[in-house]
Structures are given as C-alpha cells and as structure tokens.
C-alpha cells in the first residue's frame, strides 16, 4: 500500500526562524527555575514557576521538531514528556538533590537540542537502526 504522508517527512524546513522557540523557552524556564532554587527566592512566584517548569521542561523542546506537523500535538506531547521526565527523575532520586537534578537534566537536553541538525540526525539514525532494523 502507498503511504501518502511519507514524502512530507524530509521536506526542507522553510520556517527555520521559528524552530528554536521551544529551545529558548526551555532554556529560559530551566535557568529561571535553577536560579530561583539556588537563590532560595521563595516568593509567591516560586510555586507558579515550579509548576510551569514541571509542565514545560524539557518537553517543549518538541515544539522545535518538524514532525509531528500538528502544533497542538507537539504541545500536548511536550507537556506529557515534561511530566514524565520530571516524575521519572523525582522517582529515582527522591532526595533533596532532586531539586538540582531536574533543571540539570533539562539543561543537558537543551544542549543536545542545540546540536546541529546533521549531528542530531546522525544520532537518530544510529538509534533508529536499533529500534527499527531495516
């Protein structure tokens, strides 16, 4: 059977200027959260910032992907990814250091996402060869 959508996967990205919004948002929220914890700000804004962090970092990096093309899907999956990653970290650590671990993981993912596209594709190709052997 033909797969009408497949040809769209490798279409050139014509919207490069928009594509790093997720990266910048995650970097800003992650840095703000790390700073707030480090400085022990404790203002009424701190709970709000923590919940925003849990819901957006690092999942909003997915906003920068070309696929899925549906913006709302990337947003929902990004929130789910953030909740899953942060919960997974909290589960594993469950000690005070977890406060630092989540922002550090978010920043590490930011660094990965900031890699040039061809490097990312190279990594993805190697992972893909394991998950989906041709």
């Amino acid at each position: 059977m033909s797969s009408p959508g497949l040809h769209a996967v490798h279409t050139p990205d014509t919207n490069a200027g928009r594509r790093r919004h997720g990266l910048m948002a995650v970097a800003a929220i992650g840095a703000a959260q790390a700073l707030a914890i480090g400085l022990q700000i404790g203002t009424p804004l701190q709970p709000f910032l923590s919940i925003v962090f849990v819901l957006t970092c690092p999942g909003l990096l997915l906003l920068d992907l070309e696929q899925p093309t549906d913006w709302s899907a990337r947003m929902v999956i990004g929130i789910g990814a953030s909740l899953a990653v942060n919960t997974a970290i909290a589960t594993v650590v469950l000690v005070a250091e977890a406060q630092w671990t989540a922002p550090l993981v978010a920043l590490a993912l930011v660094a990965i996402a900031a890699l040039p596209r061809h490097r990312l594709q190279g990594i993805a190709d190697r992972v893909g060869a394991v998950l989906w052997p041709r």
Binding site: M1, S2, S3, P4, G5, L6, H7, A8, V9, H10, Q33, A36, I37, Q40, G42, Q46, P47, L49, S50, I51, V54, G59, L62, L65, E66, Q67, P68, T69, D70, S72, A73, M75, V76, I77, I79, G80, A81, L83, A84, V85, N86, T87, A88, A90, T91, V93, L94, V95, A98, Q99, A102, L120, Q121, A124, D125, V127, G128, A129, L131, W132
Partner: protein, 604 residues
Amino acid sequence: MTPSPQVAERPPVAIAAGGSDGAAAASVLRHGLVIAAASGVYLWSITRVDAAHMTDMGIISVLPIAVYAALIVMIAGFATAARVDLTGRVQGAYVLGLTVMLHGMPPLAYEFLRFSWAWKHVGIVDYIQRFGDVDPGIASLPVYHNWPGFFGLNAWITESSRLESALSYASWSPILFNLLFVGALYVMFRGFTTDRRLIWTSLLLFVLGNWVGQDYFAPQALAFFLYLLVLAILLRWYPQDPGYLDDGAVRPAGDVVAPGSVASVALSGVVVAGLFVIASSHPLTPVMTVVALAALVVSRVIRVRWPVVVIAVLTTVWALGPAREFVFANLIEAAREAGGFQVNVDSNLVDFEIVSPAQEIISLVARGLSAALLGLGALGWLRRRRRGVRSGWVSLLAAVPALLVMLSSYGGEVIFRAYLFALPFVAYLAASLWFADETVGRRLLARWTLGATIVVLTAALLIADFGADRRQVFSADEVAAANFVFENASEGALIIEGTRDYPRQHRNYEKFVFLPLDRSTPDTLRGLMADPAERLASWLSDDDRYNGGYVIITESQRNTVSDLGTLLEPTLDAIEESLLTSELFEVVYESGTARVFALTEEVS
C-alpha cells in the same frame, strides 16, 4: 484496505458550510462572545456557592441558577457550532470551557481540598518532604511508598517552591488533569478521523462521562494521562497502516513520522519515559497498559512491538524490585480475587438496603450515566457499521478494560477504573451516533438531539460526581480540628475517628494509629455501645500499645454515617453524647461542629 468512497472524497473544509468568509468570521465572533459571557457569569456565580448549606444531594443543592444557565448556554452553543464549525476551533473552545466549568467546580466553589483520600495523598508528600525518602516496608499506606512516582514529583514541587504542603495547589488538580486528558485524546482522535465535529463531540462526551472521580490529586490521574498519551503516540504515528486513518480516510500529508527520524526518536523517548512513570507510579495502570498494548500488537493495529515489551519488563522489574515487599505481602489476596468477575463487580456496588434515599438516587444516576454512555456507544458502533465506517481498534480499546474486572476487585474500585479506561473509546463510538461520517449530522434534528443528550448527561454528571460532596467537602472548622490533632498528638498516639471522611492523615501520618469506628466488626461495636466512653477510654489508656490519643468527630463523619448507613447508624451521635457527659473525657478542641476529645488529666 480500500477507503470507502464517501469518506475518501470529502467536501472542502470551511468555517461555515455554504457561507462566505465574512459570515463565518461573524459566526466565530458571536460564539466567542457567548463563551466569554457564559464564562463570566459562571465564574461570578460559582465563587458564591455556600457549601455549608449543602444537602445530601451534593453540589446541585447549592449551585446558583446562574451556573445552570451558563452551562445550558455553553451546551446550546456547542450543539449549534457542530453544524457550522468544520475547523473545530469554536467547538473546541466550548469543550475546553465546559471542561473547566464542570470539573473545576471543586476548586472554584470549595475552600479546601475535596475527598478525604486526597488529603492522605498530601500526607505522603508530607512524609517525603520530612524524610526525603519513602519506606516500602511501612505499616501504614504502604502502597504509596511502593509506587511513589507521583508523590516524588509533588515533593519536589513543594520543596523547590518552599511550600509547607501540597495543599497549596492540590485542589486545582481536577482542572489540570481533565484538560490533559482532553489534550491527549484530541491528539489520539486526530489519528482516527479528520471530522472535527466527531472529535470534539467525543471529547465532550468523555468529559461528561468522567464521573468516577479519578481526576483529583492522585497518582492514577497522572498515570491515566500518560496511558492516553502513549496510546495516542502509538496509534497516530506508528499505525500498521500508515496511509489511512481509522475511519478509512486518507491520512493527512505530514502526519506520518519516518522511522529513524529525529521526531521518531523523540516520540519513542516520550513513550519510554511515560511507560516508566506508569510502571513506577500506580499499581493498576501498568497492568491495563500491558493488556491494551498487547491487544494492539496482536490485532496488528500498531507496527511496533517494543512498547509492550518495555512496559511488561518495567512492570515486572518494578514489582519484583522496589515494590517487592508489597507485592509478596499481597500476592495471595490478589490470586484469590483473580477470575472472580461477578464477585469483583458486586464488591464495588453500594448496598441499596442501607444507604439513604438520596444516596440511592445518586448511585442510580451514576449507574444510569454509565449505562447511557455504553448504550450510545453501542448505537454509534451500529451506525458506523451500517455506513461502512470501520471502528476496529476503537472497539477493541473500549472492550479490553473489562479484563481488569476479571483480575481483581482492586479494593472495591475496579469496576470504576475499568469504566474510566474504556470511557474515551466508548465516547468516540457514542459521538459517532451523530457524526458517523462527514456527510451526516447536519440536520436540525441532529443538533436538537445532541444538545438534549448533552444536557441530560451534564445533569447526571453533576449528581453522580458531586453528589457525595456533603461528606467529602470540609469546612475550616473541620480542618482546624484535624490540624489540632495531628500537631498535638504524640508519636504512637491512637486517633479514634467516627469514619475516615474528614481531612485525614495529611500531616505526620505515619506517627499515629488510626481507628475508624465504622470499620469495626459488629461484635466490637456491640461491646463499644454498651458504654462508649468507658470502652474508648480503655483503648486510649492502653499504654502498652498506644501513646495517648484523641477522639475526633466532625460534621463530614456524621454525614457519611447518615448517607451511607454504616455500622454506626444511628450510633455516632450516641457515642458523642456519651463522651460529652462522661467524666472520663473532656473536649480539648471545639470549632463549629467539629470536636476533639481526650482523656481527662486524672484518667490519663
């Protein structure tokens, strides 16, 4: 397979069928104004609810007329938009608005967190805040220490926010989780059909059918969202047949992710992270996830097998590793319940012979709401079949949760959990009754029947979901009395309570022994009623077992006894009267209708 002609050749999508762009814009503007006005009226009214005057019918007894009016306006707007709004934006706004209006009632109308069991979840977070760890071998509430993911996350939020307790934000969970459920299902259903009317009507029916109260501050809510998200990703981007949607329509260009692309690796990472959290946060959801993914793989619905292997391995590793103490301690009980379908169903239902007339009505409405949705789902399935629209894996996912009922009673809750797991797909089939394909559902009759159905389901939801609120919503007096007990009781103290329905176990919970009188055996209760003060005094002064303690009786406990007809009916008042007149006890704290008793100095 070959797509059916009527769905493969679709009319062009437009805001307003048959209208100009200007008329469409005006229509969107009108709907926007309606939503804004209804939301304003709702918010103004809901914050004026006086929960203290609630009767045994729950929130409907105190809701202002304006709230009902706002809901009806929103429903009418939604039904009207179904005809003209093929892009789905207007209908989507109505669904999101109704989700917040209906499931946001508790945080907007009540001062404190609803459900006594949500308070004990706050208590687990409190434990992690104090110890920075969990104790899988703990005697009290061990299940939460063995699947601690959700609580670990919230401990991190409270600690990093420098909050004293998760109570500061836990009340808002129903709004957050219901919006997340709707979001995940929106993503999923976009892989089933391109008909936005069908998608948004399905989502609204899901919101209305979600009466089982699994959207509060609880690990199952997080796990359920991730379960839906994992299914959404796998069904939409890893289908066996990437060329066509579930209903046979051609998959939109760009809605396929190539294996090995960055996007595919990212989505796989989300699936793995989600499965890990499901396995480590909740004991039941991993089982359901294994069953659902296995069904999708065996039925050749999704083209990747590794997710079912991953969740099976994670579930097994977690059960035999971090949760082994709990699993081994409860294995025999779990094995005994396996296969007992009828017994497991019966253990989940209330006994009409002992509950109050109002509670009987509430239970009947809840059962009726569930049955109505299942019936609509069956009719929708038939209509799809008659019109040649396939509904294979939607039917499959609606049916497989029934297997859970075979496995366990899950503490008397499994029938409700199975219903929730089936609900999204039942709602999708039910919505198909009106929108089986894009050529139907445009007539006036469809709008009227859809609107009337939604009104009836909304009324049922208000009764089924919020009917128990008189005993699950707490006043400032009750919170203050509970805080007095948990701040002043010594470690090892015995806390005697009429029932469990009050702000319970949210602070220092592991330090105390809790004794709900309504859970006593009939023999114990008979002995107690011979001389309540004397018997309770003998328990509290048992220095070998306890380090002092308190008796706490609140209005919510009295309401539980009266609504559910527990063993204490009608004896709780007699116990309280005995304590008030006894020389053995004194009232050490009293606030409104909440009282805390302790032994007098001489006796203790």
